[in-house]
């Protein structure tokens, strides 16, 4: 008895879902190519615009890919498939685990495409910088993996699209993925408590001098992960016991 076969089919299903692939992968890439190519030689916050924008789109794209993966639980609930799975030996943890692995596969694919788009705009980084940036973004995605599962249990399929779209956009704007945000001290303090801010910073840190973000990042990511897990457990219990 192994969950590997189950995971394999989950990944196959993800890749056959063309609409899902298109929406979670294409938008950040298109934005990067459109805005990046017309500002190819500009600089922003001391670094070249294409590089700056690439890190923003990379964190946004990875976040969308991850949250959307968990949110697919919503349609599986709708058709009664989660009830069917609950009467099989598949553990709930393995079910969520498969969704998170799929989310990571999609996030990595999204990163790869955005990196290639960035390189086509002249972005050049050394191997250590590419690797550090990728690793830090993957760590920064943990709370979003859990939020995706929570939304999958909270929302219906007909509302989850706009909800996820709006929410990830909000996270992206506040985190600075779409460009610099207000420099006001209060605003910056608030924004530093949001995980998407650190997701964006993760990309930038790899390019900077130290290569690693400050300890604050781990704290914010940790707190959001714990809080999101608590909420997800609550929502999951409420959802499964009601039926």
């Amino acid at each position: 008895m192994t969950d590997a076969t189950y995971l394999r089919f989950e990944i196959i299903r993800t890749f056959r879902n063309r609409r899902f692939l298109l929406f979670s992968l294409a938008f950040p890439t298109i934005l990067l190519l459109l805005i990046g190519s017309s500002n190819r030689h500009a600089t922003l916050a001391g670094i070249s615009f294409p590089l700056y924008y690439m890190t923003g789109m990379a964190s946004w794209g990875a976040m969308v890919a991850m949250i959307s993966s968990g949110a697919r639980i919503s349609s599986e609930r709708q058709v009664g498939w989660t009830r069917q799975l609950r009467i099989t030996p598949l553990r709930t943890g393995s079910y969520f685990g498969a969704k998170i692995v799929c989310g990571y596969v999609m996030a990595l694919l999204s990163l790869l495409i955005i990196y290639l788009a960035g390189m086509s705009l002249g972005v050049r980084l050394d191997a250590r910088q590419w690797a550090t940036m990728t690793l830090l973004i993957l760590i920064g995605l943990i709370p979003f993996a859990i939020l995706g599962i929570m939304f999958g249990h909270l929302l219906k399929p007909d509302t989850i699209g706009p909800a996820i779209g709006g929410l990830t956009a909000l996270f992206a704007v506040l985190g600075g993925a779409w460009g610099p945000i207000s420099k006001s001290v209060t605003f910056t303090t608030i924004v530093k408590g949001i995980p998407s801010y650190w997701l964006v910073q993760a990309g930038k840190a790899a390019i900077g001098s130290t290569g690693w973000p400050p300890p604050e990042m781990w704290l914010v990511i940790g707190v959001w992960t714990v809080a999101a897990t608590g909420l997800a457990v609550f929502v999951y219990r409420r959802d499964t016991l009601r039926i």
């Binding site: 089919f9 498939w81 009830r83 030996p89 039926i243």
Partner: protein, 305 residues
């Protein structure tokens, strides 16, 4: 590894109760189903069949009472792969072919049946390479049956399994089911189709308004509501005289024919032939399961008033 199921007990329900808000769906069900039996849960819509099945499968938590499946709590029996289930509602997930979906489900169980074998027995092989979203209602239902069957479970639980099937598919379904049951598995199915329960179950548990109102072989259940009627052609004898025969409750004349409602049709028949050798065209009829069903439900409702 999994523990072998106990041979003595299949399903044991004790004092089971479940309410959804003000609706008391299950109001105290006690039921023991030995391993290897095929049992029908028969009752009208809203009787509490699905709620009972949900509690056996661990999908719903009882408000009171206990459920044991092969001596285990439902969640453990499910986790160890002892139970295969077909729920009343639910469709299939997208982006997989029928074969892939059956294969995926098989991979979750400790001792699954070979996928190709299950595709053959459930008559799903012809469309095994089609995507799950391209199927008709009947085809979907067969695939859902295949998912329950591929688990190769010790207990098969089927909630209204033939609801979406046409007559031919129904017959197919039950012929497969019969083979499965003969393989020594415990089968519990819910239905509101009296003929299905009668034809395919060893035992019928009649459920109405959240309670078991009758439980036994279908012949026994029929006997419980006054048994049989004797139809006989006997022109000369007054009906009142026939009403005094042994085992006869009442007699009614329709021209030359008389209908005798019996509490004991065997005794009535012997007495009838002894006293009235001229009786001919004799026919003994069992009360239909439908009549038995309606009468039992009515009695239960009267008793609970």
């Amino acid at each position: 590894m999994t523990t072998a199921p106990s041979t003595t007990s299949g399903i044991v329900l004790h004092g089971l109760e479940k309410a959804y808000g003000p609706v008391r769906a299950v109001r105290g069900i006690d039921l023991t189903i030995p391993a290897g039996e095929t049992v029908a849960l028969l009752g009208p819509n809203g009787a509490g069949k699905s709620t009972t099945i949900d509690m056996i499968l661990g999908l719903a938590r009882p408000d009171a009472g206990t459920v044991r499946v092969f001596g285990l709590a439902p969640a453990d029996a499910v986790a160890q792969g002892h139970i295969g289930g077909m729920l009343q509602t639910g469709s299939l997930i997208e982006f997989l072919s029928v074969r892939e979906l059956v294969e995926m489900t098989a991979s979750l169980y400790p001792n699954p049946l070979p996928v190709e074998e299950v595709l053959t027995t459930t008559h799903t092989k012809a469309f095994a390479d089609q995507r799950t979203t391209k199927l008709s209602g009947g085809q979907t239902q067969r695939v859902r049956f295949a998912l329950a069957l591929v688990a190769n479970p010790d207990l098969l639980v089927l909630d209204e399994p033939t609801a979406a099937l046409d007559v031919e598919a129904r017959r197919d379904f039950w012929s497969v089911m019969r083979a499965v049951a003969e393989g020594g598995k415990t089968v519990l199915f819910a239905t509101h189709n009296l003929d299905e329960a009668d034809a395919y179950a060893d035992r019928i548990v009649l459920v109405a308004r959240g309670r078991v109102i009758a439980d036994g072989p279908s012949t026994e259940i029929k006997a419980m509501v006054g048994g049989r009627t004797i139809h006989v052609t006997l022109p000369e004898v007054p009906a009142s005289a026939l009403g005094e025969l042994q085992g006869v409750l009442s007699a009614e004349r329709h021209g030359e024919a008389v209908v005798l409602a019996c509490s004991d049709s065997d005794a009535a028949l012997r007495d009838l032939l002894e006293r009235h050798p001229g009786a001919h065209d004799i026919e003994v009829r069992g009360a239909g399961l439908e009549e038995a069903f309606l009468e039992l439900v009515a009695e239960d409702e009267e008793a609970s008033r």
